[in-house]
C-alpha cells in the first residue's frame, strides 16, 4: 500500500511561502571576553594552556576539550603564524559570484595548538601557499569594537 493518486499537472503542485526572522545574541563568555578585550585594547592574541595535555588553545577556552580540565593559565602569543591551509572563495553566502575572490586561511600561531581562521588581506591568490609566514593585521585601535573583526586578517611577512 502506498499513495494511490498523485498530481498530474504542474499547475496542481501548490506551495505555501513563509519565512521567519531569527535574531540572536551570543554571550561570548569569560574566555571570549578576555580574548576579544585583549585584541581591542592592546592588540594582542591570548590563549589558554592545558599543562596536562601540553596544548595552547587559540581562541582561548575555559576548559580543555581533550582532558576536561578547567584552564586558568593564560599566555600572550605572537601576532603572527604559518598558513596551515587556505582556500580561495569565489561565491557569496547565497552562491552568487563574488566580484573579488577572497582568500581565507587557517593560521597556526607559534606555540599554539590552535590558531585563527581569517582572511589573507594583501596576498595575491597565486602567491599563497601552505607554510607561508603571515602576521595579524589589526584595525586601527579607535575602530575596534571587541569582535573578531577587530582583526582585518593576515598579511604575508
Amino acid at each position: 500500500m502506498s499513495l494511490i493518486e498523485r498530481l498530474g499537472t504542474f499547475g496542481d503542485a501548490k506551495v505555501w511561502y513563509d519565512n521567519i526572522p531569527l535574531e540572536s545574541e551570543y554571550t561570548v563568555g569569560i574566555a571570549g571576553e578576555r580574548f576579544l578585550r585583549a585584541i581591542k585594547d592592546r592588540g594582542v592574541i591570548l590563549g589558554t594552556v592545558c599543562p596536562a595535555c601540553d596544548l595552547t588553545y587559540v581562541p582561548p577556552s575555559m576548559y580543555c576539550e581533550r582532558c576536561f580540565t578547567q584552564l586558568d593559565e593564560w599566555v600572550e602569543l605572537p601576532a603572527k603564524g604559518t598558513v596551515y591551509t587556505f582556500t580561495i572563495v569565489t561565491r557569496s553566502l547565497d552562491g552568487q559570484a563574488l566580484d573579488e575572490p577572497e582568500i581565507l586561511a587557517f593560521v597556526k600561531l607559534p606555540g599554539a595548538h590552535g590558531g585563527l581562521v581569517h582572511r589573507l588581506t594583501t596576498a595575491k591568490p597565486e602567491d599563497v601557499e601552505i607554510g607561508m609566514e603571515v602576521e595579524v593585521v589589526f584595525k586601527p585601535q579607535k575602530e575596534r569594537e571587541g569582535s573578531i573583526l577587530d582583526i582585518k586578517g593576515f598579511k604575508p611577512t
Binding site: 498530481l7 596544548l55 576539550e65 582556500t87 580561495i88 561565491r91 587557517f106 595548538h113
Partner: protein, 383 residues
C-alpha cells in the same frame, strides 16, 4: 552475550532533484508503507518504537519532532526524533533492540531540500557564531581548506579527486533512484569552475529530495519475519570537535574513530579483506578518498591511487559507492547516511539491479553530517 538484530525491511521514496507533487509527509508515508510491506509488518500492531532523524532548520519548522508520528504509523506509540545523520538514527533504533525492551523498531530520515529556499543560510547558521560566522563566508570554504590540506599532506592529486566524480555519477547513471547520475569525463570535472580552491564545482554534491525507512528486528523475530535478514554486526559514531581551530584538518579523525568502534564490535581486523564494498560519504569528492583512508580501507595517501586504478569501480576489488554516492544519488540532508545504508542492504540482498555487485556478504556504510561538523557514524552489515 549481546542480542543480535537485523534490518528486515526497507522502503524509500525518490530520489529526485525536486518533488513538487509530494509533501515531505507524503514522501515519508510512501517510504514507510513500502518498508512495512517489505518487512511484512503492520506499524500499529507490530512496531514498538519509531525513530526519525531531522533537523529543525532543514525542515523549516521548529520542534519538528511534533510533525513526525502520523505519516509513519506512529501516532499513539513511542516516537522520538534525533538530529544527526541517518546512520545515527539507525544506531539509535538498533540500541533500542539491544536493550531487550523492544523487538521491532523503525528508523526514518528524509530530505525535502527543494523546499528550503535558503539552505546555504542554514549551513551558515551552523557556523560558530563569535569567531567564525562574522567572516560571512560561504561555508563550503571549510571543504576548500580541508581539501587543500588533505592534498598537501597525502600527495593526492586533483585528478584523483575528480575521478571520484566520474565514478560516482557514472554509478548513479545505473541507479534508477539516483537524482544526479550522469556520464561525465575527467576533463569536464577538472575544467569545471574552481569555486573554493582547490574544490571544483562538479566536486560538490547537489541536493535531492526523498525519504528512507528501515524496519529493524531482534534476532529471532528477524528470522521469523524474513528469510534474508541483513545483520547489524557493528556500529560506531564519533564527534571530534566543533572548533575549526583545533580539529584534525587532514585525516577525518571522526571517521577513523567511528570505524574503529564499528570494526571492534564486528570483530573486523582487516577491513579491506573482510568487507566486500562500502558506501561512504562523498559530499565533496575528496571526502570519499579521505574517508576511505580514515576508515582504514587503505593507507594514508593510497585512496587516490585506488580510484585512479579502478579498484573502487563496480567491477573493482573493492567497490565504493556503487549507488552513485552522494554525488550521484544526491545529498539527502539528514537522510544521506541512511541512503548509504540502504544501498548496502539492497546490494547484500541482491536487489541492486544493473549496478548489482557479485558475491557480496559484508558491506560498510559511513555518513558524515557535512560542514562545519566533525560528526560521523558507521555501520557494518552482513547477510
Amino acid at each position: 552475550m549481546r542480542r543480535t538484530a537485523a534490518i528486515v525491511g526497507v522502503g524509500y521514496s525518490g530520489f529526485r532533484s525536486i518533488s513538487p507533487d509530494l509533501s515531505y509527509k507524503e514522501m515519508m508515508y510512501e517510504a514507510a508503507a513500502k518498508a512495512y510491506e517489505d518487512a511484512g509488518v503492520d506499524p500499529q500492531r507490530d512496531i514498538e518504537s519509531f525513530v526519525s532523524v531531522a533537523e529543525d532548520f532543514n525542515e523549516g519548522t521548529s520542534i519538528f519532532d511534533e510533525y513526525v508520528p502520523d505519516q509513519i504509523g506512529g501516532a499513539l506509540k513511542p516516537v522520538h526524533t534525533i538530529p544527526g545523520d541517518g546512520i545515527h538514527g539507525l544506531i539509535a533504533a538498533y540500541m533500542q533492540l539491544l536493550t531487550g525492551a523492544m523487538d521491532i523498531v523503525m528508523v526514518e530520515a528524509h530530505s525535502k531540500a527543494s523546499n528550503a529556499l535558503t539552505l546555504s543560510d542554514v549551513m551558515a547558521y551552523a557556523m560558530e557564531p563569535i569567531y567564525n560566522r562574522p567572516l560571512g563566508a560561504n561555508p563550503h570554504f571549510i571543504a576548500g581548506m580541508e581539501m587543500n590540506r588533505y592534498l598537501h599532506s597525502t600527495g593526492t592529486t586533483e585528478e584523483q579527486c575528480a575521478q571520484v566524480v566520474v565514478k560516482n555519477r557514472g554509478n548513479g547513471f545505473l541507479n534508477p533512484s539516483a537524482a544526479h547520475g550522469a556520464r561525465v569525463d575527467l576533463e569536464m570535472v577538472l575544467s569545471s569552475e574552481t569555486v573554493f580552491y582547490p574544490l571544483k564545482k562538479l566536486e560538490i554534491s547537489s541536493h535531492a529530495d526523498g525519504a528512507v525507512v528501515m524496519v529493524l528486528a531482534s534476532g529471532e523475530v528477524a528470522e521469523e519475519l524474513t528469510s534474508l535478514p541483513i545483520w547489524i554486526r557493528g556500529v560506531g559514531w564519533c564527534n571530534e570537535t566543533p572548533s575549526l581551530e583545533t580539529r584534525d584538518w587532514e585525516g577525518a579523525t571522526y571517521a577513523r574513530k567511528s570505524a574503529e568502534m564499528a570494526y571492534g564490535m564486528a570483530g573486523i581486523r582487516h577491513p579491506w579483506q573482510e568487507i566486500d564494498f562500502a558506501e561512504i560519504d562523498d559530499t565533496y569528492a575528496y571526502k570519499e578518498l579521505q574517508h576511505m583512508e580514515a576508515l582504514n580501507l587503505c593507507r594514508k595517501g593510497e585512496a587516490g591511487h585506488l580510484v585512479q586504478e579502478g579498484a573502487t569501480e563496480l567491477d573493482g576489488a573493492f567497490p565504493v559507492n556503487p549507488s552513485g554516492g552522494t554525488l550521484g544519488v544526491g545529498h539527502l540532508l539528514d537522510a544521506s547516511g541512511l541512503g548509504r545504508a540502504l544501498e548496502v542492504v539492497l546490494q547484500l540482498r541482491g536487489e541492486a539491479g544493473e549496478r548489482q555487485l557479485g558475491e557480496v556478504e559484508t558491506g560498510l556504510a559511513f555518513g558524515w553530517r557535512g560542514v562545519p561538523t566533525t560528526s560521523g557514524a558507521a555501520v557494518v552489515l552482513s547477510v
